[in-house]
């Protein structure tokens, strides 16, 4: 008997078709990947299998039970991690776990064996509120909560989005141990290294299954989507010796805790600088100090020639900033958003109008000028957000995980925009958890425990640490972290 059977399932919301005649089966104990771009219908598929939605047409069974008529049986035997963070932030680790255990009619003691391997890593934080955990820790706790009742089928909807590479590896190592217990796993992920850890993969695009096969088969067959030819970084030669960011002995302490612990580095004009580090290494805090959102405890720094201690108002005028969470106002149209941000930076109306045309032309976006931003796909929003962040021609743009949760092809397009900006002389300061993106940077630094433990070009770092690629370099360094990931 197959663990999951999906027969000709379709589902639409009003005029939008989310799933279109989808069929596949997943064998018992299999690790099955459901991959595809944002908005392909993956979440709808999970919700149908978890009995949260009824299929429009077709039929699906989980563990032999029908998702419509035998809802209660399915709900007793599946574990589900929705895409959104699914814990109670104001309850402690222990309280969350106990609550979910009781919810499924079991106790932490009874289920302890099944979660021990994972729970061991977070048990020392048992009295900490879930909201205060780092991204990787939260995902581990969510997985514990989903596993404590020993489900026979586990549904994981992009469980590692926003989690650093080391934590992601550990997370998937845990999933492998579950396989030994014959638990069927269906997971989606935007990371290719995770796709490769699935036994079979279904590629879902615009509600249709484009192909099912082993990870390598699918990744090869759709190579143009998943592994588009790497873009060549045309070294424009515009990198000058002029430093636009200079930081010396920068420290930010919260009480006795040094989030950023004495870092020094510089970035040259026109450079693409990758700022890497595990969750909780201090990246965001450092970035806040550089952008003038936060005062350093000690140390000095200059951004675009202005002192980060005293001249943060000047700095704000000369930088662009794009965070992962904030993109644009969803209830304004594309043009209205551009107009707003142009206005905020004090550009003239004529300037805004001409540059808007030029920008939309370059993005091939002209026909969506009057669309609400909320109606655009995530990848487009991010491209638009980036273009808006550099609309006022800042000398530096700060990007905080700009490509979280986006498929490889869209990320590749996003990086073309970054190169484009760099070619125009804009310095790019970017954080990312994608190690293939790290390779695209001119220079990178890797933060561990609040300190910069390595800095250099990707080639230099690979050579220095004798590792084949950036992924290994990062893992090598991040594993030396002693600070509890928080």
């Amino acid at each position: 008997m197959n663990a999951i059977e999906v027969h000709h399932v379709s589902k639409s919301y009003g005029a939008v078709t989310a799933l279109d005649d989808v069929s596949f089966t997943v064998g018992k104990g299999e690790v099955f990947g459901l991959i595809g771009p944002d908005g392909a219908g993956k979440t709808t598929m999970y919700r149908i299998l978890c009995t949260l939605l009824k299929p429009g047409q077709g039929k699906a069974t989980v563990d032999g039970f029908d998702t419509v008529s035998q809802m209660a049986d399915i709900r007793r035997r599946v574990g589900y991690m929705p895409g959104k963070f699914s814990l109670y932030q104001d309850l402690t680790v222990q309280e969350n776990l106990e609550f979910f255990a009781t919810l499924f009619g079991t106790t932490v003691e009874q289920g302890y064996d099944s979660i021990r391997a994972i729970y061991n890593q977070i048990e020392r934080f048992r009295d900490r509120k879930a909201g205060a955990l780092s991204g990787g820790m939260k995902q581990k706790l969510a997985l514990c909560c989903a596993l404590v009742h020993q489900p026979s089928v586990l549904f994981l909807d992009e469980p590692t989005t926003g989690v650093d590479p080391v934590s992601r590896k550990e997370f998937w190592d845990m999933l492998q141990t579950l396989k030994k217990r014959d638990i069927t796993i269906m997971a989606s992920t935007p990371y290719l290294d995770e796709v490769r850890r699935c036994e079979r993969v279904a590629f879902l695009d615009q509600g249709k299954i484009r192909g099912i096969g082993t990870a390598d088969e699918i990744l090869t067959r759709f190579a143009d989507i998943f592994n588009p030819p790497g873009i060549k970084h045309a070294q424009s030669g515009e990198v000058t010796d002029e430093n636009v960011i200079e930081v010396e002995h920068l420290v930010k302490a919260f009480g006795s805790f040094h989030a950023v612990d004495d870092i020094s580095f510089s970035v040259k004009r026109g450079e693409i600088f990758g700022f890497l580090g595990a969750n909780g290494a201090g990246k965001t805090t450092a970035m806040h100090m550089l952008t003038g959102l936060n005062q350093p405890t000690s140390g000095t720094g200059h951004v675009a020639g202005y002192d980060i201690r005293t001249e943060h108002e000047q700095i704000k005028k000369h930088i662009g900033y794009m965070s992962q969470r904030f993109s644009l106002y969803e209830d304004l149209t594309v043009q209205e958003n551009i107009r707003l941000f142009g206005g905020i930076y004090g550009m003239s109306d004529a300037d805004i109008a001409s540059k808007t045309d030029e920008m939309l032309e370059r993005l091939q976006f002209a026909e969506h000028r009057h669309d609400l931003v909320g109606s655009l796909p995530l990848g487009w929003k991010q491209k638009l957000a980036f273009s808006v962040a550099i609309f006022h021609e800042p000398s530096i743009v700060f990007l905080d995980e700009p490509t979280g949760g986006v498929d490889p092809a869209t990320r590749r397009q996003f990086w073309e925009l970054i190169y484009d900006a760099a070619a125009r002389g804009i310095t790019v300061f970017v954080t990312t958890h994608y190690m293939d993106e790290a390779e695209y940077c001119d220079r990178i630094s890797i933060m561990v425990d609040g300190k910069i433990s390595a800095i250099g070009t990707p080639a230099e770092l690979k050579e220095r640490f004798h590792q084949p690629d950036m992924d290994h370099v990062f893992t090598h360094l991040a594993r030396q972290a002693t600070r509890s990931s928080d």
Binding site: R47, C50, T51, L52, L53, K54, M71, A72, R75, R76, V78, Y80, M81, P82, G83, K84, F85, S86, L87, Y88, Q89, D90, L91, E95, E98, F99, F100, T102, L103, F104, G105, C145, A146
Partner: protein, 352 residues
Amino acid sequence: MKQFISFIIKEARHIVRDKRTMLILFGMPIVLMLIFGFAITTDVRNVRTIVVTSSLDHLTHQAVDRLAASEYFTITATAPTPQDAERLIRSQKADQAIVFSPDFASRRGGIQFIVDGADPNMAQQWTNYATAIISGSDASPVNSKMLYNPQMKSAYNFVPAIMGMLLMLVCAMMTSISIVREKEKGTMEVLLVSPVKPLMIIIAKAVPYLVLAFVILTTILLMGRYVLDVPLQGSIVWIYLVSTIYIVLALSLGLLISNIATSQLMALLMSAMVLLVPIVMLSGMLFPVESMPRVLQWISAIVPPRYYIEAMRKLMIMGVGIGEVLREVAILTAMTVALLAVSLLKFKTRLE
């Protein structure tokens, strides 16, 4: 049962850990009681009064003395003519003038009130009070007696109204927000994909707020009794029983709102706008239902707090038995059953 209890504990933790909400929940009844009890009051007190009289005979003298002795009026001046008095009122020096005609004593009448009518309700009350006091002299033919509230204290009126308003707001708003929050955070998905019955989720969500509502109810009653000196004439048991029906009604209303609202903000706005305005305006809390236009009277007939406030006034202030409020209790019960049924039927066990 174990699931149920752990669910309630979890819910209680959410409430207790949210310090700001806790402060508002318990601060609101206390602050409202103090404001309505002491600051916003329609009681007549210290009205600045001018006496206009030409002949200070014995009877006039007596009447003026009684006015001055009462806590309601303060005689600030005497004026020779009504025109002078009017000028004083117009220049904000006084609130009202009482003009005694020269032959007041002989024909036991002939009084004119010149009143600042900017607030018509208060103006009406001042003249009523003054008339009562002046005619209260031994010889007066008119004698009025205030039942239940001899001192005419407005707290008697407000305490039941605040109960009706607060219980409704706390229960409906807090349950709807707490359910919608789980939807927003994605935890509702996990709860639904668990073997727990949806009905249990709802009841467990409601229980902590039920308890909270009783705490608030008790706070109000205690404050009313010992701070504002509002008597509790009727039986405490009945007061709590009728309140329980009302609280359950408010909880099911909150549940209904949570079915419709998709965000916490929307739930908040819906409970505030949809509930607060009719409660304050149409329940008879501030304005008597009897003096509303016919259409508004019909609308007020479906506003639940109207019946609760009415029942509470009867039970608390008049001290009647449950027999006298059967009509209100019956209507409240019917509304509760109907609302509960609708909201339970409408509760979605799936996401659609």
